[in-house]
């Protein structure tokens, strides 16, 4: 399946673009996606933390991904 990832903040700089399409096996979890991203873009490992939001809510490593979701890479937040 092809997942569409959207990136903000430093995550966008690391990818070099706002949106990345990435091929993953069916039934991949957030932890699998994290492994692939860290492999392809080692700079993600330098961040203080790396979380993911699916359909506008934070989700944990075990969350199952699918092609029709809105997946967003959330690097360390710094509002205020």
């Amino acid at each position: 399946m092809i997942l569409k990832l959207t990136a903000f903040g430093i995550a966008k700089d690391i990818l070099g673009k706002r949106v990345l399409e990435i091929e993953m096996e069916r039934n991949s979890k957030i932890s699998d996606l994290k492994t692939v991203l860290l492999h392809q873009y080692p700079d993600f490992s330098k961040l203080a933390n790396l979380t993911f939001a699916v359909d506008e809510a934070y989700q944990d490593d075990g969350f199952l991904l699918s092609a029709n979701q809105e997946i967003v890479i959330i690097p360390p937040v710094a509002g205020g």
Partner: protein, 140 residues
């Protein structure tokens, strides 16, 4: 959600908007926190800030914080306004207004709101210097 007012804007924020929203007859204490763009960070001169938000989720998370405040504190009304885009020195990045019947709870609730916002709301801040730029808090 008539007691909660959330806004993300690329226009300058006016603290009176948040303040006016939370003002009500039941509350004698309103605390309004205003976060502004500061000139120095660790001794280095900042030219301006730039904020980016994942807006739909940021609005959800700010609404969540407001609801939490009303559960944890005797707060009656809450307003959270956040700026995005370029923000010049002294300009307002965030306004949080909380109204409670008495002042002590209003201070505590407002502090809880800004502390939680900085931890959970998907908004990112970049400091622009003469010789480069840094995404705040990105690296340990």
């Amino acid at each position: 959600m008539k007691n909660i007012n959330i806004k993300i804007s690329d226009k300058p924020l006016n603290p009176a908007d948040a303040n006016d929203f939370v003002t009500n007859e039941e509350c004698g204490g309103i605390v309004t926190f205003i976060g502004t763009a500061r000139k120095f960070t660790k001794g280095k001169e900042v030219l301006r800030l730039e904020f980016e938000a994942y807006e739909p989720m940021a609005i959800k998370e700010m609404t969540k914080i407001s609801k939490q405040i009303m559960e944890l504190f005797p707060a009656k009304k809450v307003a959270i306004h956040h700026r995005v885009g370029p923000v010049g020195l002294k300009e307002i990045a965030v306004v949080i207004a909380v109204a409670c019947p008495h002042r002590k709870a209003a201070f505590e609730a407002c502090e809880f709101a800004i502390d939680t916002l900085k931890q959970t709301v998907p908004i990112w801040k970049k400091e622009i210097f003469e010789d480069g730029e840094i995404w705040v808090a990105a690296h340990p």
